[in-house]
């Protein structure tokens, strides 16, 4: 079975409305593909490309791309589809004697809000529903859009959830129409300042390109894939605007509002080859609702690793699923006398390493004379994700295989 899908020739992607986009520097086109790899549409660039894009993002309005620049510099471009052309709107050149920019992953902090009330052409003030989700200030842009119109206007100032614009709007909008904005670029850099032996996460003003914050950590080095999105699957944290990045076979979640920046979650992914050791590289990620799409050249399906000549996506879900079960027997060496017993504990966890509660676990053993005396018929996991049973030994000295089974229901 061929497990390829997108067949991208470049190591990046971003998803918009269920379509997968790739910047093709061979043809100078932005390609939109369906999930089976069929090219749905292509958009020529108004400004020709000169480098292969390393990472791509979409903020709801704009496409963003990361390219290598001259030595120790990177280039980030913002483009937008206008009249079937991918039009260059902004070029952010990351170059500074104080920093060596060498990155393969970036994302754009962006927010989607809805407006409160109806607005007619000429309005210069917009109120959003609820609190301002991220930092929005004078000089930044907002984009208003509905099924008919889309316009981008510069902000003059913001007070609470009221946005005053520098120019009046030119279209009509009704309550709950979308208001979108972006503010910062987050760049995983393979240098901390000019120290190329370290890694750092850079927060960069998306309008000016100036460095706002820099956090050094080895965990931020060698990152190929990251994205930004609203995450709600950690029940204890609620909805969090999260910076997500792939480190080895984990997806790490950073709450960008935390200070100092800290991880608040980690998701184990199935990016390990069938040898159970080698990591499959993830080149880019994109998030759509509770699905994560990973761009890879290899994938492991049901114990077998496939390699491709093109890049294809592998999905992962943010919905908590049974991801692992471990079994412990204590003591695990007992006499074969049909009397001695061993306490069994099975621990069930999801892909985030969190306990799976109230899930039936079944215990079985392969000893013809031994038996599961308690809990074999199915035991629910408790608040720690643990289910207990008892094995009583048989009469033959042997290695007994005890199996705990849990299903995702």
């Amino acid at each position: 079975m061929a497990n390829e899908n997108l067949k991208f020739r470049k190591p990046h992607m971003t998803i918009v409305d269920g379509y997968f986009y790739m910047f093709d520097d061979d043809t100078d086109m932005l390609l939109a593909k369906a999930d089976d790899g069929t090219t749905a549409f292509s958009y020529p660039f108004d400004t020709l490309m000169s480098e292969t894009v390393l990472s791509a993002e979409h903020d709801g309005v704009n496409f963003w791309s990361l390219e290598p620049g001259a030595a120790n510099s990177m280039v980030i471009r913002r483009t937008r589809l206008e009249n079937y052309i991918c039009t260059l709107k902004q070029t952010v050149s990351l170059s500074s004697p104080s920093h060596h920019f060498n990155s393969e992953a970036f994302t754009v902090e962006h927010y989607h809000c809805t407006i409160s009330g109806a607005y007619s052409p000429g309005a210069t003030s917009i109120t959003i529903n609820g609190e301002m989700p991220g930092q929005l200030s004078g000089g930044m842009d907002i984009t208003l859009q509905n099924d008919t119109y889309l316009e981008t206007i510069t902000v003059q100032n913001v007070v609470a959830n009221v946005i005053t614009l520098t120019d009046p709007i030119i279209n009509s909008y009704v309550d709950s129409d979308e208001l979108l904005f972006y503010n910062y670029i987050w760049l995983f850099n393979n240098a901390d300042g000019t120290d190329d032996s370290k890694g750092a996460l850079y927060k960069i003003n998306a309008y000016s390109g100036s460095v706002v914050q820099k956090v050094e950590s080895g965990a931020y080095r060698g990152i190929n894939a990251c994205t930004f999105g609203e995450v709600d699957h950690f029940s204890s944290f609620g909805i969090v605007d999260s910076l997500m990045f792939v480190k080895a076979s984990n997806l790490l979640f950073i709450d960008i509002s935390s200070f100092p920046l800290s991880y608040y979650g980690s998701m184990a992914m199935d990016t390990i080859q069938s040898d159970d050791v080698t990591i499959i590289e993830v080149y880019d990620i994109s998030m759509k609702e509770r699905n994560l799409y990973r761009l890879q050249l290899k994938a492991t399906y049901y114990g077998s690793t496939s390699s491709w000549s093109t890049y294809n996506y592998q999905p992962a879900t943010f919905n908590p699923m049974v991801a692992s079960i471990s079994l412990e027997a204590s003591p695990n060496v007992i006499a074969a006398n049909q009397i001695s017993s061993s306490d069994l504990i099975a621990r069930v966890k999801d892909q985030f390493g969190q306990a799976i509660v109230a899930r039936l676990v079944y215990f079985t053993e392969d000893d013809p004379d031994g038996e599961i005396t308690s809990g074999g018929g199915g035991t629910n996991t408790d608040s720690k994700g643990e289910a207990a049973a008892v094995y009583r030994s048989g009469i033959s000295a042997r290695l007994v295989k005890i199996t705990a089974t849990v299903d995702q229901t």
Binding site: K247, P331, S340, G353
Partner: protein, 406 residues
């Protein structure tokens, strides 16, 4: 039947909560596996292993400790790692450098003498003292307590300056976080290094390394301490032991006297009864010894694995052997004569198994019989019975059977 289980690619592992962990130097990750070998979670390292394989791993209840080769084959690096926010961070690094000290460090195994206890009372931000519930006899000025995680998931290290009486200790600085009563406290004062050198001389040596002083403070020479691959720390009945594997024996060194006080026989020998299955690492969990091997012998057959897998040995006293003696060996088949039958039962430490029921039986005719069929072993592990002769001349087989219920 396949006897491989955790399928670890490198000869080092450690355990926590019944799961198995190993460090992968090729991608700077920690793998967590279940007993079947499934990867159940992975953790990135904040930092790098420098591409050098981990030789030995230890777990102190909060931290992982790794041993790696340093810049040369006579240098070693020991790192202390802690899981914080889903990433393992380097908390401390100890460099054992042959060029800058008067030692060569050819070490394949080390032991972290660590103690776990709990706070006996809560700690507030800015406190300059802490109280612990146990293990006070091991606390010295300079001991570093790791407190936490607290309810916010935070840890902190505090250094003891001295005792304030009882189980309360003064600190050299103020605490940064609040900690609740019964929160975990771990501390390590010493590492024990199995070195093939004493200073620069080739000689098996067990070196005691003081973390506070960042130096070796004592050396004990013994040829048995050469080429040790597997060792760990064990605390039982108020005695602290360094355990190490010597062939098919697990040796217990009482670190207060530096004498071997116990020796346990393991089944890591092949069917030829000569070749030893090498043990690359050991761990103890719930009084069970887990041995990491790439060869194992099960029920009369040898198996080789392409990966490293665990085999178990119980540390609790477990019936290991029973031997029979009879006197006299020859008696007339007169239906009257008696034979003393003695069964000696020992555990894996060659200690007597006491108060165990031994079942005596014989295969003589209907007139010969064992006078006591189910005696208990005494303090010496000896159970006695008597065989009363039958009336037909024959060779009689007397059998002693024993099992273990706990």
């Amino acid at each position: 039947m396949a006897y491989d289980n955790i399928k670890i690619p490198y000869p080092s592992f450690t355990m926590s909560d019944g799961n198995f962990f190993f460090f992968n130097h090729t991608n700077n990750m920690v793998y967590k596996k279940n007993s079947k070998g499934d990867i159940i979670f992975t953790y990135a390292l904040e930092g790098s292993l420098g591409g050098k394989q981990v030789l030995s791993t230890q777990y102190d209840g909060t931290h992982f400790w790794t041993l790696q080769e340093g810049d040369s084959s006579l240098d070693r690096v020991i790192k202390k790692w802690r899981l914080e926010s889903y990433v393992y961070k380097t908390i401390d690094t100890i460099y054992l450098d042959s060029a800058s000290t008067d030692y060569n460090y050819e070490i394949a195994s080390f032991v972290n003498e660590s103690y776990q206890t709990t706070l006996s009372s809560g700690v507030s931000v800015g406190d300059s003292q802490v109280s612990i519930s146990s293990k006070t006899q091991f606390v010295i000025p300079g001991t570093v307590f790791t407190l936490g995680p607290n309810s916010d998931g935070l840890y902190e290290e505090v250094t003891v300056t001295g005792t304030l009486g009882g189980n309360t200790y003064g600190l050299d600085f103020f605490t940064s976080y609040a900690h609740e009563e019964d929160e975990v406290v771990v501390f390590t004062n010493y590492l024990w290094l199995f070195n093939n050198y004493n200073h620069k001389t080739s000689q098996g040596t067990l070196s005691k390394f003081s973390i506070k002083d960042d130096a070796i403070i004592s050396n004990t020479e013994d040829n048995d301490f050469s080429d040790v691959d597997a060792s760990t720390f064990y605390y039982s009945d108020n005695v602290s032991y360094v355990l190490f594997v010597l062939g098919t024996l697990l040796k217990f060194i009482d670190i207060s006297t530096l004498t071997i006080t116990k020796s346990m026989l393991m089944d890591n020998i092949r069917v030829n009864n000569t070749t030893v299955n090498v043990i690359k690492e050991i761990e103890i969990l719930d009084d069970t010894l887990y041995r990491l091997q790439n060869n194992a012998t099960y029920y009369g057959n040898d198996y080789s694995f392409s990966t490293y897998n665990y085999q178990c040995s119980p540390l609790r006293s477990f019936v290991d052997s029973v031997t029979m003696g009879t006197y006299p060996k020859i008696v007339p088949s007169d239906g009257v004569s008696l034979v003393n039958a003695t069964a000696v039962v020992q555990d894996q430490y060659s200690d007597p198994s006491i108060y165990k029921t031994v079942w005596f039986s014989d295969d003589d005719d209907e007139y010969g019989y064992m006078t006591i069929t189910e005696p208990l072993t005494d303090q010496n592990g000896v159970a006695r019975s008597y065989y009363r002769a039958g009336v037909s001349p024959k060779t009689v087989i007397i059998t002693a059977f024993i099992t273990q219920y706990d």
